[in-house]
């Protein structure tokens, strides 16, 4: 029996992870020891401190990392090879933490519900029962959402930084399980919320199974689960090629489910609609960033030498996803569902960027890589998405958030600022120039075109046209349609938390659209993955 050696941890580089998970544990302790009434403020503070601390640590680490030994990328391989802290990881960490901070702001909002949070008073009380009414009358609040949020963020940080398939799987579960719970905690329309959570959980568990099976097959092929080891095995071209292909396909199923790509997108509209909107806002941006980070790392690092077999597969998936998302968004009559299908379409656009992978030698000097394009797109889409969902929380009628299209008619006349900002986010998602979305779209389409996937780009252009239609239609609804007589929604006064979140997203969307240079330089400096 081999002697036990103590694992050697890079405490400094892994600091952001430690801070987030540490804060989450503190949150659990707060939940255990503080009386119910006085938990909220400490929880919010712990969460914010943890996230801001982790963000500072991320920046610190990013400023400090040096070129890895092979010279192509900067960073370190930490935790005995299971966590890779390189440029793309750090960029995504920063991004996810920013979305986390914005999400915390939305979670903590209490003015919209008359002094209560958007989460169920007592999740265990059956909807419509006396227990629920009592919980509501007593003004109970689930403050567990904050530690759950932190655990989810922790998983998201680990996911794109994993150095082997097992860590990736663990991260996947750590990020998913809290999200399943959070989705089921809506204060209003609880049955819808619980249904969403159950659906998300069942399908998510199923897709995790696919991922594990894929990991097993790839292990069978390569004899290792570490991504770098798989890369070497693939380059060496061991026998049993079929095993590898099946493994890639199954791993892809697991990841494509998380990003909501067709044909695994079915959960997206239900979950986005049923979940509390604050959760949807956070989830739509951060999960996408984390999951695409993992997709990129898996395909670019482990299966780089096998590009010719996964690029066509992802190209087909991208085409279906874009068209399906765009077409189904047109027939929606609910804002949250429309945004959900638009998220599906954006997944397709992101995949268009992913397939634009090229060898380092194929790129011209000064040309940016597909990795950079996708990272930038995640940034632009995330801010627009958080902002749009945050605004959805403001538009309310007597029954809470009013998400039906009818309630939004004529909003531009009643609240020009809210409608205007929402229209701006929609225009950014539609990719109109001078908004962030345009630069992002341009970046991913160019990568795919450079790699020779011009048919996919043409489809992407076509689906952009489809997407433009439903965004514009909603703008027409808000500004140029007479208000429906049977009840329209009004904009509720929100506290600084929501207003601040929207303001940050708006500023980011404007700045990234007009002067994307600094952020693009940041993305460029992030460099390549460590292989």
């Amino acid at each position: 029996m081999p002697e036990f050696t103590k694992p050697d941890l890079e405490y400094f580089e892994l600091l952001p992870l430690f801070i987030v998970f540490g804060a989450a544990c503190v949150g659990v302790l707060v939940e255990a020891f503080l009386p119910r009434e006085s938990r909220r403020l400490p929880q919010v503070l712990v969460t914010l401190l943890g996230l801001v601390g982790a963000l500072v640590a991320t920046v610190w680490v990013a400023a400090d990392i040096v070129v890895h030994d092979d010279g192509a990328a900067r960073g370190v391989v930490g935790a005995e090879g299971s966590v890779v802290v390189d440029g793309p990881s750090l960029y995504l960490w920063g991004l996810i933490l920013v979305f986390g901070i914005l999400g915390t702001g939305l979670f903590a909002e209490r003015r919209l519900e008359g002094g209560l949070s958007a989460f169920a008073g007592q999740a265990a009380a059956l909807p419509g029962t006396e227990a629920e009414r009592q919980a509501s009358a007593k003004g109970l609040d689930h403050t567990e959402v904050y530690p759950l949020l932190l655990f989810a963020i922790g998983g998201m940080l680990l996911f794109p930084a994993s150095g082997d398939l097992l860590t990736m799987f663990v991260a996947l579960e750590v990020l998913s399980l809290p999200l399943y719970l959070l989705c089921g905690l809506a204060r209003r329309r609880r049955l819808l919320s619980q249904e969403a959570a159950l659906k998300y959980f069942l399908l998510g568990a199923f897709s995790s199974g696919f991922f594990l099976y894929g990991a097993a097959l790839v292990y069978g092929y390569a004899g290792t689960v570490s991504l770098a080891g798989i890369d070497q095995a693939v380059r060496a071209g061991t026998a049993d090629h079929g095993l590898l292909l099946a493994g890639i396909a199954l791993l892809a199923v697991g990841l494509l489910f998380k990003v909501g790509a067709a044909p695994f997108q079915a959960w997206t509209p239900d979950v986005y609609q049923g979940a509390p909107t604050a959760v949807t806002a956070f989830m739509s941006a951060a999960t996408k960033a984390a999951a695409f980070g993992a997709v990129l790392r898996l395909f670019y690092v482990a299966f780089d030498a096998e590009r010719w077999s996964w690029q066509p597969m992802l190209a087909v998936v991208a085409v279906i996803t874009m068209l399906l998302g765009g077409a189904l968004a047109i027939v929606q009559t609910d804002v949250k569902r429309m945004l959900a299908y638009s998220a599906v379409a954006h997944t397709g656009f992101l995949l268009t960027g992913v397939i634009g992978a090229q060898g380092a030698g194929d790129l011209a000097e000064g040309q940016y890589s597909s990795l950079e394009g996708v990272l930038f797109y995640l940034t632009t889409y995330g801010f627009a998405s958080v902002g749009a969902f945050a605004l959805v929380t403001l538009v309310r009628d007597a029954g809470g958030e009013a998400t039906g299209f009818g309630a939004w008619t004529g909003l531009g006349k009643r609240s020009p600022v809210v409608a205007g900002v929402f229209a701006f986010f929609l225009l950014s998602m539609a990719g109109i120039p001078l908004t962030a979305g345009f630069v992002g779209k341009w970046a991913v389409f160019t990568s795919a075109m450079s790699a020779g996937f011009w048919p996919v780009v043409l489809v992407a252009i076509a689906s952009s046209i489809i997407a433009v239609y439903f965004y514009i239609r909603h703008i027409q609804l808000m500004f140029f349609t007479a208000p429906e007589p049977d009840g329209t929604a009004a904009v509720s006064e929100a506290s600084l938390l929501t207003v601040g979140t929207v303001a940050v997203c708006l500023a980011a969307t404007v700045v990234l659209g007009v002067v994307p240079g600094p952020v693009l330089t940041l993305v460029e400096r992030a460099g390549d993955f460590i292989r």
Binding site: L363, G366, F438, I461, I465, V468, I472, G517
Partner: protein
């Protein structure tokens, strides 16, 4: 200089949006006038023989090879002057109608108009394809809110149709813009500067595909048959002032783009596409005129006449001769002036009669003789009466059409005959006839209304008799463009500009 020209109206739009409502119109008029002054100053510092000038180049997005690069050549200068001149007139003409309680309010109208002005100016000055694309698309947003927010019932749907067509065209263009990046990156450091792109060695196939993307977008914009269907709906529902901005300024971007980008970057592909493009142009000329004859809505009718006119412009551009090129550029200016006058005067009629239906008008001539006179002059300009400026350009374009092939010229000439029909018949039905009792006592045009169209009328007459200033600006541009394309005129007997002089002066 050019940055000031662009930023002034843009910043002005923000100021108007933030300032109190009572000040909106005054502020707007002041900013539009100031922009006009800057435009005129730019024109005076412009040197006729120097090609691209007043250039400003800064790196904007380094990773994409994108520059904030502005410059002005003959074509750009004429378009800039047209834009800065039309916007104050539109504001003056819509002074009271902008307050319409049904609409979005004067503040919104003025702010969006200024934003549209600034972005359009940026389009005409951009010398970087990426920058051009950005502002090209961005102009649509103010235009969308102008169409959707002001005008008649059904404008919301019209605005959406307008925007969908334009954005669809724009996205097709995006594909080509991306393709240019790829081509540019393959040949060294990627750059979007027009000067770098014109020097690129684009393979025949790639050039043709990219050309198609550019051309489709500009054809939607211009508009050209068969992607013109948004035009009539939009002009029908929008206010006349908005229509002026759309048809006389924004649509010029289409033909402007064909000259600058299609011919400038893809000379080979442009020549290759000539037969198809000229066919489309001829269809637009005849079809637009025929459909215009059948219209009962005066604003719709004017919109459709523009389809015919844009057909002429495109015909001139793709006839690939110096008369054609210069004629097309002149046509763009003259069409802007003439159609703007027609739209604005038609707007005056609409506000007096409360209807745009030609069949319900008639007989207003006696009550408002000055209005009738203005309408007639604008109409005659549209049909190309010698002595008014559109004649000169129409003549040049026809000359080039006959040069290209006799049957092309023959078909194009029918457009002129049809133009006489739709204009005169429209005038007859709108103004002449017995005066109905309801119309008696209708006030004639007041000083403000005359003031808004008088400069246009003056320009129509001035450039009709003396087009030399326009020709002097347009000719060097056409020459260098055709030299770039590699086309030479077939030994003209007389230099084109002298020939026009003789024609024009012989006619009055």
């Amino acid at each position: 200089m050019l940055s000031t020209l662009i930023l002034l109206p843009l910043v002005g739009a923000v100021v108007v949006a933030l300032a109190p409502k009572s000040l909106s119109k005054l502020l707007g008029a002041g900013i539009a006038a100031a922009t006009l002054v800057v435009g005129v100053v730019a024109a005076f510092s412009y040197d006729l023989d120097k090609g691209m000038q007043l250039e400003e180049t800064y790196t904007w997005i380094e990773a994409f090879g994108v520059h904030y690069a502005l410059g002005l050549d003959g074509l750009g200068l004429l378009m800039v002057l047209l834009t800065v001149a039309l916007v104050p007139l539109v504001l003056a003409a819509e002074w009271f109608t902008a307050d319409d309680p049904e609409g979005g309010g004067a503040r919104a109208f003025v702010a969006w108009t200024l934003a549209l002005e600034g972005l359009s100016l940026a389009v005409f000055c951009a010398t970087d394809v990426f920058l051009f694309y950005v502002v090209f698309e961005a102009t649509l947003i103010p235009a969308y809110f102008l169409v959707g927010g002001f005008g008649r019932a059904g404008r919301g749907a019209a605005a959406t149709k307008f925007l969908m067509f334009q954005l669809a065209g724009g996205l097709v263009l995006l594909a080509s813009v991306i393709g240019l990046y790829v081509v540019s990156a393959e040949q060294g450091e990627p750059s979007y500067l027009l000067s770098d792109l014109a020097a690129l060695d684009i393979s025949t196939d790639a050039g043709r595909w990219l050309f198609i993307g550019f051309f489709v977008a500009f054809a939607v914009k211009a508009p050209l048959f068969p992607v013109h269907t948004w035009l009539a709906d939009t002009t029908e529902k929008a206010t006349p002032g908005t229509s002026v901005l759309l048809v006389c300024v924004l649509d010029k971007i289409g033909t402007f783009g064909m000259l600058r980008f299609c011919l400038g970057i893809f000379p080979e592909a442009s020549e290759w596409a000539t037969p198809v493009v000229i066919t489309l142009a001829l269809i637009s000329i005849v079809y637009g005129a025929l459909v215009a004859i059948g219209q009962d809505d005066v604003l719709r009718l004017i919109g459709l006449t523009s389809l015919s006119h844009f057909g002429f412009i495109v015909l001139g551009i793709f006839a690939m001769s110096s008369q054609g090129g210069t004629g097309a550029i002149l046509y763009m200016v003259n069409h802007g002036i003439g159609t703007a006058a027609l739209f604005l005067v038609a707007g005056y009629v609409y506000h007096r009669r409360g209807t745009t239906l030609i069949s319900e008008m008639g007989g207003i001539e006696k009550a408002t003789p000055v209005l009738a006179g203005l309408f007639l002059v604008a109409g005659l300009a549209t049909l190309g009466l010698p002595g008014l400026s559109p004649f000169v350009s129409e003549f040049l374009v026809l000359l080039s059409a006959f040069d290209y092939a006799w049957y092309v010229g023959a078909i194009a000439v029918t457009g002129i005959v049809l133009a006489a029909m739709y204009v005169l018949w429209m005038y007859q039905r709108t103004f002449t006839g017995p005066t109905p009792a309801a119309v008696e006592g209708t006030a004639d045009v007041d000083a403000r209304e005359i003031g808004a169209v008088a400069p246009l009328m003056l320009a129509l007459v001035l450039f009709g008799f003396y087009p030399a200033p326009l020709l002097d600006v347009a000719n060097p541009f056409t020459e260098s463009l055709l030299a770039h394309v590699g086309v030479e005129d077939e030994a003209p007997d007389v230099p084109p500009s002298d020939e026009t002089h003789a024609e024009t002066e012989g006619d009055h």
